[in-house]
Every structure is written in C-alpha cells, then in structure tokens.
Amino acid sequence: MRASELFGTATFRLAVFFALAVSVSTAVVFLFIYWQVATFDVKRLDAILVGEVARAVTQPEDRLKRELELRFTSDLRRLDYAALFDNTGKLQYGNVAAIPKDLRIDGAAHIVEARSLQSTDTGTEPAVFVAGRRQDGGTVLLGRSLYEVNALRRVVFEALMIGVVPAVLLALASGIIFSLRMTRRLKIIHETTLRIMRGDLQERLPAHGKMDDLNYVASAVNLMLDEIVRLLQQIKSVGDNIAHDLRSPLAAMRTKLERGLVADSSKELRAAAECALGDLDQALATVTALLRIAEIESGRRRSGFTGVDLAQVCANVFELYEPLAETKRIAFTLDAPVPLPVFGDFELLVEAIANLVDNAIKFTPKGGAVAIVAKMIGDRPAVRVTDNGPGIPAGERNHIFKRFYRSGKTRHVPGSGLGLSMVATIADLHGFDLRMEDNRPGAIFEISPS
C-alpha cells in the first residue's frame, strides 16, 4: 500500500486525531505537575526564610552570629546564604559580600541574582533573599540558592518530555497499525464484493474470528447474499418451469402446423390450425397467469384494500361454481352464517377461493362432495374448502404451493399448474396463512388471517 493511500484512510486520520488528543491531555497534566513543583518549593522556601529573618532581627548579635555559624556548618551543599551587615552596610559576618543592590530590605522574599562570597565560580545564580533591618541599624540577610529548585524543575521537565513523546509516537504507531489492518480487511471486502458483482455469487465476505463491527456487517451481507442466491435459484427454477411448460404446447403446435401444411385438403389444414390455436391459447394462459402472479407479488394492489366480508366472498364463489358442481353431480355446500370482516381486496380473495373450489371440483370424482366453510375458528375468521377427492399424497404436500407443481396423479387433468401458486400469492399479499390438511379422504385448504 502506498503511503498516500494509508494517510487517506479514515482509520489513520482517526489515529492521528487520537494521538493529538492524547498529546494535548498529557501535556495539560504534565504542565500542571510542572507548575505545582516549581511554585510549591519556592513558596515553602519563602515562608521559612521570612520567618527566620523576622526572628533574627530581634536576636542579640552574638547569638545571631552563633546561629549563622551553625547554619553554615549544616549546609554542606553551599546553598544557603546568610549575612549580617552593620548600619553602614559593611559585612560583619556571613557569606554574602554586599547587600544586593536591587533587594529591598522589607522582610519579604525576593528573587535576585546573587554572587557567592567564597565560591570559585564567577557566575551568578538566582536565589531567594529575605533582608530585615535590626534595631541597631544593621541588616540581616538570609537566602537560599534556587539551584536545587531549578534542578528539580529540569528533572521534572525532562521526565515530562520523556513521557509525552513516546505517548504520541505510540498513538501514531498504533494508528498506523490499526489502519493498516483495517485497510487490509476493507480491501479484501472490496475485492470480494467486486468478484460477487462480476457474477461469482458463491463468494462470501470474510467474517470469521471474533464478532467485531466489521465482521458483524460482513456476516449480515453474507446472509443477504445467501437470500439473493436462494431467490435467484428460485427464479431460475421458475424460469426453467416456464420454459418447460411453454415448450410442450409450442412443440405440439409446431407438429400440428407442420402436418397441416402438407395436408391435402384445406379442411385438414383448418383443423390443424384450429388445434394449434388451442395450444397457443394454453401457452398464453400460462404466461397471463404468471404475469398476474408477478403483479400481485409486486404488492401494489395492497393500496386498493378495503373492508371485505369473507362470507360474502365465499357466497360469490359459491354462486359462480354451483352450476359446475351440479353438472358434475357433486354435492356442493356453503356454510357461511355470519359476516367475517377482514381487510383486503375483494376480487383477489374471490379469485383465491375460486381457485381452491375449482381445484376441489376438478379433482373430486362424480358423486363426491365439496364444501366451503367460512367461520370463526378459534378467535379468527377462516375459510375452508374441503373435498373428498383423492387428496394429496403426504410426500407431495410440501410442493403443492410451488409454481407449476402438479401431482403425478393429476398430470392428465388440464390446467396451468399455477392455481395454488396464485392462491398462495394472494394469501401472502394479505398476510394470510394458507394451510393444507388431510380430509381422509380428500383435502382441506384453509385460508385465515395470521
């Protein structure tokens, strides 16, 4: 990866921002510590010196000298200044040559550049001085070099630098490492996505390892891909089925037309054309049914939903099919005693129930019985269409709602094989359940709001 690419990543920018934030906050803490160290020690010194001078100005001279002497002997590091001047400003005793010019003699602490008396070093160094006037006109001068304090400050400052710089570097480094790792993973995802886009639908995004946010998204995308693949396969199988179901009538039509063309009489030709037209109609009916299913599945019809009485729907279907049942000598009954209000599309519900009734009448032999029951079952309205025909073998029950599925037993009965798919689609649009049960003998189909 090129550097510019790395610096452009969101992760890296985040890391830089993080490093900055760490630096600033650490610096604030360190500055506070530094300031505390620097001022606390000086203040303490000031207080002590002020107190000592206040006491010294009142003491007799001989005693004061003794105390100063004691002070020098205990001051091994030569940090203390102490001196007694007479009223003319001449040094009586001590290690300071003269009263510093800019030091006010007021008993308060002042920081001035002091020159040591006996030391060999020529430079000056900052020191805290307190000077007090004695009653005899003399001056007591006490002080302490700030060398120690400054050294402490330096040490603290160095310690702070040693702390901040690695912290910032560490933040930057971890930023780079994280963004490299993240970018590598994103790159893999990007490449995988491109491969999927080019048609390799079996590819999946890497989502192993622990469930971090990226893996979480990746596994969601993988689930989506699984669903897309499933839908595609479904569409493909539907497409295969369409091709198959259209192929048969088209092939039959072709043979008939071919035979008609070589026929001797126009009568034969006419018969062939008519036959072919019938095949074509069958093929078109299949296409129309598929388009209708697609239209219903698109869900646009839901906008036309109103309050619908399921009992009325059943009554309409009953009225439509009664003569047909009569001609087949099938006992056809309707049991819909009370209104069953639901929310839906009246015509589609009629179509769904009509398809169920149509199937029941189609597959029930002469003398059988078909019934529509529209009632409250439990606490919800339900429509049941029952028959005592051959029923559906247990092994085929899972397939009957699939498009074009036709039971092996009924292959000879004409039909598009789309009736139950249509019912399932309409039920689905309404959010209704469609169930099939065994009537021993025969079948029960039930539609009910879920």
């Binding site: 009225e319 439509l320 009569e326």
Partner: protein
C-alpha cells in the same frame, strides 16, 4: 341499430404503433365489413380522429413508448364522443382502471383473439345510449327491470338473481356475439378466467330455463368465441 348494408360506412380508426398488429386488426375489421384507417402515432391519431369522425377508435395503450391516455383525454375534452377501445399489454388492474377513467370505454389486454376484438367492437358500436328503459323485449322474451322478472311468451321464467343479470346482459346485446370474457367482466365483474367452461355451465343452466322442449333455442353458441341471443324467427 345498424343495418347490414350500411356497415361499410362505419369507419374505425386504429391507433397502433406496431405495423404487424395494426395490419392484422385492420384486416380483421375489413373482413367484418368495417372501414379501417391506421394511425401510427398519438398525434396522427388525434388529427385523424378530429378530421374523420370515426365511429370507433381502437387505441394501443403504449405508442412508441408514450402513454396514449392523455390523447384520449384530449379527445374527450374536445367533445369527441366516439367510443374508444383501449388495447394494452399492461395487464394490471390499476392500468385498466386508469384506461377507463381517461375516457376509454373498454379495455382489452394483449394478446387477444380476433373474435374477442370483433365482439367488443360490435358491442361498443351498438351500445345503446338509452339506459332508462324499464322493460326489455326481444322476440318472445320480456324482461321487467324493476320487478326483476322475465317471461317467454306467456310463461314466467323462474330465475335466480344471477341468472336474471346474465339474461339481461344477453338481451341488451341481442343479435351480437358476447364472449365469455365479456360476460365474466360485465355480469360477474371478475377479470380473472377461472376456467373456460364456467360461463358455459351458467349459460347451459339458463338455456334449460328459457327453452322448453320444442321451443326454438334463444341462445346460440358461437364457435370459439361466445354466445349470441337471437331475436327469434
């Protein structure tokens, strides 16, 4: 009511952008004795409709990718009242409703049988503007639309409400072929075709009530397309 001799006077305007389809429709109309004129675009159709005063318009819903409903609305706004049969590959209910709202009088979905087209054209051309009549009579058949009762000659017919509606529709279209799809749409108000012989069994049942043995049958089947109620001898 049109006499047979004047059929060649009837001009039908076919507004259709697919040349094959337009030719087939025109040929079918000519073979039925109508005069057909083809317009291939909405603008040409509009112009022809203004100029020729066609008795009927057959308009494709999509003309070179342009919805033709605004054209129909324009015609209606200009006071041209000729019936319009919208022919469409768009099969959804919404499209159908919009087609009828825009001023179409009937809506036929492609692909259709030419017999279906012929029956619809005939029905639209003969559509009676008089809907206020309270009785209908065709030959020996009398319908009282207020009492919802029917009789053939002296014999009162015992009809169920649905059977009466079916008979009323046939009587209103007497002498014309009505297709199974027209009956399902107009009598039952369903636009799906559950199975082809469903309408036939209803007609069969009605027939048994209309005709006693020896009576001349009133409803005849028309091969491949539908039924026709005849005025009698």
């Amino acid at each position: 009511m049109l006499a047979n001799g004047s059929l060649d006077q009837v001009l039908i305007l076919v507004v259709e952008d697919e040349p094959d389809m337009a030719r087939e429709i025109a040929a079918q109309l000519t073979s039925l004795g109508y005069r057909a004129r083809i317009a291939e675009t909405g603008a040409a159709g509009l112009e022809a409709a203004r100029r020729d005063r066609a008795a009927l318009l057959i308009v494709d819903r999509m003309l070179n990718g342009i919805d033709s409903l605004p054209m129909i609305e324009t015609l209606r706004n200009e006071g041209i009242r000729s019936p319009v049969l919208v022919v469409s590959a768009l099969a959804s209910v919404d499209d159908r409703i919009r087609g009828l709202k825009a001023g179409g009088d009937d809506y036929l979905i492609k692909p259709f049988a030419m017999d279906e087209l012929a029956a619809r054209v005939e029905a639209l051309l003969r559509r009676s503007s008089d809907t206020s009549a309270t009785t209908l009579q065709v030959g020996p058949l009398k319908l009282d639309l207020i009492a919802r009762s029917a009789s053939r000659g002296e014999r009162t017919l015992d009809l169920l409400p649905a059977e009466f509606k079916l008979l009323e529709y046939l009587v209103r279209h007497s002498g014309q072929t009505v297709t199974r799809a027209m009956l399902l749409e107009d009598v039952w108000h369903y636009r799906f075709m559950p199975r082809t012989n469903l309408v036939d069994v209803h007609i069969g049942k009605l027939r048994r009530k209309l005709d006693l043995p020896g009576d001349p049958p009133l409803i005849r089947s028309v091969r491949r397309s539908g039924f026709i109620l005849h005025a009698g001898e």
